[in-house]
């Protein structure tokens, strides 16, 4: 604890203030390395045994001209000594590396919040690029905030002098200077970041040294009381965290590993075929590095080829997986219909983004539920599940593999741009404790009929090319319910339609009963959510339960089929409110199934819900 110890050595400072949680947003130009900064702060915070949640917010442009508002990149983290469920509504602290970052982010900051500015970047030219007519440092813009004005640029240049870098390279260390300062502020250790820098710049040790020097300088700046006296550091207690081995994961990572785990548990190899699209590409990138796990990745020529290759791969005895985002999923639908018709396992991961059409590719939304459940020609049922958070992607992926292989069906796994990019600490499970769910390929030619089903699951046998004696033909034309031969018989079509529906409906009996996350299991108001709204709903409900309100949180993993007990569970509440980031899709689905007067709380702005928005909605309903 040398850092906190030395912090005590600065006697003129206000004492470290104790906080339960804090929300910090790092914002700067895309070139300022804000995502890296955020990533390091996340890691160090996790190591300090705080719970946390993050929200990275990239610009839509690859690399917008420096200094523009649309080139601003931000990373928000909420951390604390209790269970953290969202990246936080309004940041307590904004770090603004340039005027554009201030311009874009200031409106979100808590009243009276801390705003740390690099005054060195507030040049005439940068002010202009940010669209400021006057200097906001001077003109009262910052009134109501506690502004900390530091010439970070200059201080960084000084700090890294020894490494004799070019000015450009030297200025690149600004983010580490700032990180050092924030580390000081929250009493954090620098060791992990130091190690990381040394590894990252192994081939260019002068850069490692410069960055470390900058970080140390920033830290020392705080420690040696160069900060305004009224701004002391903070202490945040360790959170009460379940013992175990931890790491941080993004949704993309957890999803990739969950798929690997799921296929291993099923005793299968994985063939992953995809076509790049924001925000789904991360999964492709992660899996492309996992060849040694029997994962073959294939960047197809388009989304259609990707899903077709995945189906072909499932046909040939591996688990075919494909992934995309909304517009790409639309393209896959015809082929998914074939997957439903030939009844092969297939996992389709859909990272939702804001639409319609190209929409706002870098912004999050939950508006592909209709598409997932109903977006195909004909009566084409499949299973739909949703993950609620980055780490939850791991479990959701295993569940998707389980359903796909056990029921010989395509499964759509819904995630979203927020989950894909955000990271959170994750208690690493021990793979030895996972329950195997081995797939049995059909090998016995005796009595083999490609569409003769397991009476329990209604799944047909998986008979893979290469198996002697099982040579057979399948296709998308309606098939005889046993032999699989083409059949135009009307009664057979009726039977097959009913069987396909029954098979999927049957999954409802093979999933856990719906539970209540928080609050009573019957009562005045249930907030129902799915996917990445988990955090804000849960926090809002927790807050209002503390206030004594009678409200419950129900969060769905299974979108289709719905859990068998969900109807009776919902009937136990006077009011049901579905909070979702779309124009009312789950609420429509639930209304159609249960005929309950379910209301929607809908947000379609490309931004996650704020806790306060949900709290307000609950208040409004319970105070009626």
């Amino acid at each position: 604890m040398s850092e906190t110890a030395s912090a005590k050595a600065a006697p003129a400072r206000a004492p470290r203030q104790e906080l339960e949680t804090a929300v910090v947003r790092f914002a700067g130009d895309s070139g300022d390395g804000m995502q890296l900064t955020g990533g390091q702060f996340t890691l160090t915070t996790a190591l300090a045994a705080n719970d946390l949640a993050t929200f990275p917010d990239f610009p839509a442009e690859i690399r917008a001209p420096a200094g523009t508002t649309y080139g601003v990149s931000a990373f928000q983290i909420n951390f604390g000594g209790r269970r953290i469920k969202t990246a936080g509504d309004a940041p307590d602290v904004l770090v603004a590396m340039n005027p554009a970052a201030l311009k874009v982010n200031l409106k979100d900051i808590k009243e009276g919040g801390l705003v740390i500015l690099d005054t060195g970047s507030f040049t005439e030219r940068n002010l202009q690029k940010a669209g400021y007519e006057k200097d906001p440092i001077e003109d009262g813009t910052l009134d109501g905030y506690r502004a900390v004005k530091i010439d970070i640029s200059k201080l960084t240049l000084e700090a890294v002098k020894a490494q004799e870098l070019s000015k450009k390279d030297a200025l690149r260390c600004k983010n580490l200077w700032t990180l050092g300062l924030i580390y000081w502020m929250y009493g954090r250790k620098r060791a992990a970041t130091k190690a990381w820098l040394e590894k990252k710049f192994a081939k260019r040790p002068e850069l490692a040294q410069a960055n470390i020097a900058a970080m140390d300088a920033g830290h020392a700046f705080g420690e040696t009381a160069e900060m305004p006296a009224e701004i002391g550091g903070f202490t945040i207690q360790e959170a009460d965290i379940q013992p175990g081995l931890y790491r941080t994961v993004t949704g993309s990572e957890a999803l990739a590993w969950g798929l690997v785990a799921g296929t291993e548990l099923a005793g299968l190899k994985m063939t992953f075929a995809s076509y790049p699209i924001t925000p789904a590409s991360g999964l492709l990138h992660t899996l492309a590095r996992l060849k040694s796990f029997g994962v073959v990745t294939f960047q197809a020529e388009d989304e259609i080829a990707a899903v077709c290759a995945a189906i072909g791969a499932s046909y040939a005895g591996t688990l075919g997986v494909t992934s995309s985002s909304g517009p790409g999923l639309a393209l896959k639908m015809e082929a998914i219909g074939l997957g439903i018709s030939v009844e092969l396992p297939l996992v389709i991961v859909n990272s939702q983004r804001a639409g319609p059409s190209t929409g706002l590719p870098t912004k999050t939304e939950q508006s592909d539920l209709f598409q997932a459940v109903w977006g195909r020609n004909a009566d084409s049922p499949l299973a739909v599940i949703a993950s609620r958070s980055p780490s939850d992607c791991f479990d959701a992926a295993i569940e998707a593999v389980r359903i796909a292989t056990k029921y010989m069906t395509p499964v759509i796994l819904l995630t979203d741009g927020y989950i894909a990019n955000a990271s959170e600490p994750w208690r690493i499970p021990d793979a030895n404790n996972f329950t195997p769910m081995p797939v049995t390929f059909r090998t016995d030619p005796e009595g083999f009929k490609p569409f003769l089903r397991d009476p329990k699951t209604l799944a047909r046998p998986w008979a893979v090319p290469g198996t002697p004696g099982l040579e057979h033909r399948i296709g998308g034309i309606e098939k005889d319910h046993e032999s699989g031969h083409i059949s135009y018989d009307p009664a057979n079509h009726q039977k097959m339609t009913a069987t396909r529906a029954a098979k999927i409906q049957g999954i409802a009996n093979d999933i856990p009963a719906q539970t209540v996350e928080l609050g009573p299991s019957k009562g005045r108001l249930a907030i129902v959510g799915w996917g990445s709204t988990y955090g804000p709903i849960d926090r809002a409900v927790a807050n209002l339960l503390e206030e004594g309100l009678e409200v419950s949180h129900i969060h769905l993993r299974h979108i289709w089929p719905l859990p068998a007990n969900l109807k009776s569970l919902l009937e136990g509440f006077d009011q049901v409110l579905v909070a979702e980031m779309n124009n009312g899709q789950l609420s429509t689905l639930l209304r159609s199934q249960y005929l309950l007067p379910i209301e929607g709380l809908n947000k379609v702005s490309g931004q996650p819900f704020k806790i306060a928005e949900i709290e307000a909605a609950i208040h409004a309903r319970l105070e009626k």
Partner: protein, 342 residues
């Protein structure tokens, strides 16, 4: 996975299914089916390791009639499914059957990319210059002016040449056959199979109902000698009765011309030898059109390079050699971790 049965001597009949063949009586597809069934036993591949993958169209019904594994997929996408099959199990012998509509209209992109990637499959494109299954609309290979239900006053699109397209896509094996030529087809199929990489075979196929006789100009018995040239690597490019005519490069140009040795001072030595490794010659042969030129039949181009399938297997082996196989815990615990103790 591929426990293979000992390869007894199978016969063409062993490759026929119990399903009634449902093409129109007289359709050219029957002849191709026969030639394929004849080829299969000669490939030395266990029957369970053979997969036929098709799209949608009359031609794409093909898998139902082969007693191998078969997947009748959706319109235009067979190459993508086949790629997935090969990714999952490179040991399978995968045959794609497609039509001029399936493969070159809706499916043009997938065909392009499977050829470019050089995935180790055989692609049989049944070109009848028409959409058979949907009742006779013109296709991308239909000649200019084709009258069809969708072009009552004649089509106005320039037809695509499947072989020139394949060459432009980077195909390493490009061949042509004629439905009725039972004598030549099995050999073509065997060569396609022997080529490691994507093998593209265009087969002129007569649609007796919607486009009858569209190839008779060169397939007619009487016309064949003068209007077909069967090319063979290293052999002179001769055709006509007793091979009386031949092809040579028109002096001072890049064009081919037809000459008759012993006429106008042309000698046998002037006749070009077929070089199936020449991309330029392949393009010239592919571009020849009756009536001015004979239709080139046979292997126009064969110039193998490492296949996609081989490369991917190699990458996987390399990855496995580097990383200890599949220790899930090691993966989950990779990178920065920390322990929270009780």
């Amino acid at each position: 996975m591929n426990v293979t049965t000992p390869l007894e001597k199978l016969t063409p009949k062993d490759f026929a299914t119990d399903q009634e063949v449902r093409w129109c009586p007289g359709c050219g597809d029957y002849a191709i089916l026969k030639a394929v069934q004849k080829t299969m036993p000669e490939l030395d591949v266990p029957r369970e390791n053979i997969v036929f993958v098709s799209g949608i169209g009359c031609s794409s019904r093909f898998p139902y009639y082969m007693a191998t594994y078969g997947f009748h997929t959706i319109h235009g996408r067979a190459p993508a499914f086949a790629t997935g099959v090969k990714l999952a199990n490179p040991d399978l012998s995968v045959w794609i059957v497609t039509g001029d509509g399936d493969g070159l209209s809706i499916g043009g992109n997938h065909l392009l990319h499977i050829l470019r990637r050089n995935v180790d499959v055989q692609i049989l494109l049944f070109n009848n210059e028409i959409y058979g299954l949907t009742k006779g609309q013109y296709s991308p290979t239909s000649r200019l002016g084709t009258r069809s239900p969708s072009t009552p006053t004649g089509s106005i699109d320039n037809p695509l040449s499947p072989t020139e397209f394949a060459l432009g896509a980077g195909a390493r094996f490009v061949a042509r056959g004629i439905d009725t030529q039972q004598k030549y087809l099995p050999d073509l199929f065997k060569r396609a199979h022997a080529h490691a990489g994507a093998s593209f075979v265009e087969i002129f196929q007569n649609c007796i109902v919607y486009n009858d006789g569209v190839f008779t100009e060169f397939t007619d018995k009487a016309a064949a000698e003068d209007h077909q040239i069967h090319v063979e690597h290293g052999k002179p490019l001769r055709f006509g009765k007793d091979g009386a005519k031949g092809l040579r490069v028109k002096p001072g140009s890049f064009d081919l011309e037809i000459v008759t040795p012993s006429e106008n001072g042309v000698t046998d030595a002037d006749i070009l030898l077929h070089d199936e490794t020449s991309h330029t010659l392949a393009n010239l042969l592919a571009a020849m059109q009756p009536p001015h030129f004979p239709m080139a039949i046979g292997v126009l181009y064969c110039n193998p390079i490492e296949s996609y399938t081989a490369r991917i297997s190699q990458q996987i082996e390399e990855a496995k050699a580097k990383a200890p196989l599949g220790d899930l815990n090691a993966l989950l615990q990779s990178g920065h971790t920390w322990r929270v103790s009780d």
